[in-house]
Symmetry: C2
Subunit: 270 residues, 2 copies
């Protein structure tokens, strides 16, 4: 079992403090001594890509990843091209913000065609890979919890993400919330060795109040986060640990209080 | 791809029509030409085991399974014994009602100890097996959707259920709702050949309104049920197909209307 991680490994995923704009996040992290963030594209777009990059650089912050590209399965050729263009822009935005990881949320099936969705995802990643390589950006395939399959991702197990990553020379992003239930977790993390490009934490609440926005702050749920961090580190990952809590109740807290709670729980539970 | 299943294969799981008592369910099935049911123990207890058995037999109904035993992980020795006693009674009730299948919902972890929960489940099934064999009852290990891990079951993949079934000489219950998302579904159903003792259907709604009571009527969601039935049948299962829809909105319908809808969708979508 590992001990508490140093605060320098904490990366604050922007959605944890969704009540803040990007400039507010940058200022808040400076106040709290948080050195790394993971912005979301919508929040970057609000202030503009160039200004966002400047704000982050001027504050001396690192960027662990950009959230997100993906959503590959499309209803038709036009939608597919639109998604492809958007993904190419996402790669460019990641590079512009100074991160080498673009998180991929792979997209839901169209209708009932789950095998088709999985094929479209593999094809989409394959098409995007050269553009990512040109920009020095690694594509991080993030398996999502199976309950998110209908809206977010047909890639719902770490095993499948690792299969894709090995086949397409991509990376995987391991979010404890999405994978902790998996009896194959230990085996698949070992298979992922050398390909893990991100590690995210939050907690599984009992009961879970909402399928999408009901994640818990670390320590408020039942995930053995320290055990999972140990497995992730045993697979060779020693990079930033992104705190990505998506919880409506926490968004009602003053941002500074939420960041303080995040830092406290990061040390106590991760 | 298989054609529509005959109505004789439909078994009405009692919770689909939770607005009805057991006597109402028995009468309603007679009116609708449904020949098989799957009662829940609480509803049996409401009328008493003997009377329930008589009602069902007098109506000429078959019983595909009894729902449910399980909940093996316990906070202490006293709770473990209480669960063990209850599971022994569940076996006896199944036999008394004339079914040879007891569905096992295996139980949630105690605290954060997921490996411990899985060990307790294996041990619990092993201890219960001789009693089940004495009564001619097969234990059907049902993997539940991973989103139900915190309240219902640490067994959340078909692969793990099949591993347990092979190791402990038990059966598995395949509920399309719980397993449809799994990229290993085809492979694990093939491994389950000869051990499938039940097949349940409902549908995955987008969005899913509730983690526990938000299942859809067949045809209202995105599960390719006919494909999964084909895989289940290819694994040698040709028994009853239980319709187990757990949906608060449907419980507000008049029971007869809901049964009619169930029969119609069973033919069209399963």
């Amino acid at each position: 079992m590992s001990g508490a991680p140093p605060l320098q490994r904490l990366s604050l995923n922007q959605i944890t403090v969704d009540q803040w704009t990007l400039p507010e996040l940058v200022d808040g992290c400076a106040r709290a001594g948080v050195t790394t963030i993971a912005p979301w594209r919508e929040k970057v777009a609000e202030v503009g890509l160039e200004r966002a990059g400047r704000l982050i650089a001027d504050a001396g912050l690192s960027v662990s990843s950009l959230c997100r590209g993906g959503f590959f399965p499309a209803a038709g050729e036009r939608e597919r091209r639109r998604a492809e263009d958007d993904n190419r822009r996402a790669v460019e935005e990641a590079a512009s913000l100074g991160t080498d990881v673009l998180v991929l949320v792979c997209g839901a099936p169209v209708g009932r065609d789950l095998p088709g969705a999985r094929a479209a995802i593999a094809a989409g990643i394959e098409r995007l890979a050269p553009h990512a390589a040109d920009h020095g950006v690694r594509l991080g395939i993030e398996p999502l919890h199976p309950m998110m399959i209908g809206e977010r991702s047909a890639i719902v197990t770490l095993g499948e993400a690792v299969d894709l990553a090995l086949r397409l020379d991509a990376g995987v992003v391991v979010d404890a919330y999405h994978v902790w239930w998996d009896p194959a977790l230990e085996r698949e993390l070992a298979r992922a060795a050398g390909r893990i490009v991100g590690f995210h934490v939050s907690d599984w609440l009992v009961p879970t109040p909402d399928l999408l926005q009901g994640r818990g702050m670390m320590g408020d749920g039942i995930i053995d986060l320290r055990r999972i961090r140990g497995l992730v580190e045993a697979a060779g990952y020693d990079g930033p640990i992104e705190v990505e809590v998506i919880n409506r109740d926490l968004w009602r807290m003053p941002g500074d209080d939420l960041v303080a709670l995040t830092c406290e729980r990061f040390a106590a539970c991760c």
